[in-house]
Symmetry: C2
Subunit: 354 residues, 2 copies
């Protein structure tokens, strides 16, 4: 493998010294880019895009051709695992994800096995290998998976949900069954992320998109615990370097101290927490990744720079910050505003690293 | 006016001694009740239901006929104010609220005046008077309004929103204009709630449904500040009794200390914060209202009782708790489960008040 030319991301995630604050953007390969929309159109549908390594590679690299981002992130979807478990993932026109066979009964849970990543999710691993080759050491490649709880919400509800009635009812009334489901998911995510690491990803992120809809007690028992199980089984070194792990619970700002003790290297932080206060709360345990309100990108370039200035100042001097949005970029954002953001982070962060 | 037979709610909101923890339920007059659905059907559409005092009174009283709740809450909608401002509120079939004339420009904002409650929102005041008469002192009547920020989100977006792009863009790029909009809304809400109090409501609640989508800085500047403005102008005594004020910012668990300093009497707390920790954080400043996950009502009666037990235990002894859900009741909930909840709160809370 070619030596890594820009290792700011990996260093910052491990709280090592860097010259500039690194930045990447959640969903940086996405619908706000006309070239993404063109590839997606060519692919026909979203899952074909995910399942064709050449196309996944193409869209993964698109934002890097426009912006001097400090990382690439594998283009894929968190629902590849339940799809590989045989639940029949599909995306209806204008709708969110849906499963043909949602998980509702004990028999449904017992029928689930851990997918073999190199067999059942081969297209993901092939995409990782291809992207690494094409990246040629330019920036590191981030792999990812959904948290067990987040995957379970889609699998039990059968689709996106507003109130999570089905999955919470299973959690409340059949906690042992829910634990069985979360355990097979934790084992699946562990195998999946380890295979991504073996195939070449250099950092991994676990997206706990729906942990924030739980009470503190339920969050610890049904979401955080299974992310900790994954952390216990992950390969933490590859190609002679540490592989940092980022946990991100959306709307989990109240639980940062708990998440910081999980054994991860970095916390994703959404914009409802001040990044300086987050840092004070978790101390030196972990790096932080975040946390600009994605909607700031609707605003003027001057206002975007002002927000970057404020976040960098809130975080303060020294290492351990990876700049990102607090959630995925919205699809109606003007790509030129992303250029403003990336440049602002690099330019305005330099004084904090002298 | 008839003397109040059950004043547990008012006493608990002022942190005075009670015999049992009072309970009411956000959206207790709503679609989970077949009798509500029948009245709604008769009314034809939602706004007719809101605008016909006899029908609003009828549905307000329905849950009290089924359950020994400790309060009634006026049946209405937070969007009555922008409707009275002339924005043309309507509800399309299967859609959320929409405005025919959203607020987008400086001219749009400057055209807004403070509605005269007894003239432009007379149907609300008539409903309050009628409900008070029909309640006949059985339990207190709660009035309410949306927070300025929350109202502004609907007025600027023109409908419900996923990412709040329009309203946030106005906030980021035209903060002076946004403040002008929030100021006229704060003055309107103040006049509206004072008119409700004059008409007979005995406590008021401000619903800041969308304050939680802001960063901490923006929350303080664009949501909390205008709720404080309202608090400064509210009638705090009526009929020889204090009129308690409850503020509720959904997803505002990180800012409870700040909200507690606003001058309100009680905080609404959603289920993502442990109620015992919330109490420890705000101390003796305010009462708390909440905070069971509404989805627990999907679970079995035994599980519902278990959750009530846990919340009462977390809060602990002594006064200052009003039991409620952490958000509005879901429409698919079985009314029999609500009966279980109300009885459990009364039965299981007695030991904490001895």
């Amino acid at each position: 493998m070619q030596a890594l030319k820009n290792d700011r991301l990996l260093r910052a995630l491990l709280r090592q010294k860097v010259d500039l604050t690194p930045i990447w953007i959640m969903r940086q390969a996405g619908r706000y880019l006309p070239e993404y929309r063109a590839t997606r159109e060519r692919a026909g549908d979203f899952m074909t895009l995910c399942k064709t390594p050449e196309l996944a590679c193409e869209v993964t690299l698109q934002p890097l051709e426009r912006f001097p981002l400090d990382a690439a992130i594998l283009f894929s979807d968190i629902l590849t695992i339940p799809d590989a478990m045989g639940l029949g993932l599909h995306f209806a026109q204008g709708e969110g994800p849906q499963f043909r066979k949602p998980v509702r009964s004990a028999a449904d849970v017992q029928a689930l096995g851990v997918p073999d990543p190199e067999q059942d999710l081969r297209y993901v691993m092939d995409a990782v290998r291809l992207i690494r080759r094409e990246l040629n050491g330019q920036v590191p490649l981030i792999g990812f998976a959904g948290s067990p709880w987040t995957l379970a919400t889609y699998m039990v509800e059968g689709s996106s949900s507003k109130d999570f009635g089905c999955v919470k009812c299973m959690m409340f009334d059949q906690p042992a069954l829910m634990r069985q489901l979360l355990d097979v998911l934790a084992r699946s995510v562990t195998a999946y992320l380890n295979a991504q690491i073996a195939a070449g990803v250099q950092a991994v992120m676990i997206f706990d998109t729906w942990g924030g809809v739980l009470s503190p007690r339920d969050y610890q028992e049904f979401s955080l615990r299974y992310m900790e199980q994954i952390l216990g089984g992950l390969t933490r070194e590859s190609e002679g370097r540490q592989v940092p792990v980022i946990l991100f619970t959306k709307n989990g700002g109240q639980w940062l101290e708990l998440i910081a003790q999980s054994g991860c290297d970095a916390l994703g932080v959404d914009w409802t927490t001040n990044i300086g206060e987050a840092r004070a709360r978790v101390g030196d345990q972990v790096a932080l990744q975040g946390n600009m309100d994605p909607s700031v990108l609707y605003a003027s370039p001057a206002r975007i720079r002002q927000e970057v200035t404020a976040i960098l100042k809130d975080y303060g001097r020294s290492t351990g910050l990876v700049f990102n949005l607090g959630h995925g970029i919205h699809q109606r954002i003007d790509p030129d505003h992303v250029a403003v953001l990336v440049d602002a982070v690099h330019e305005l962060s330099a004084p904090y690293h002298r």
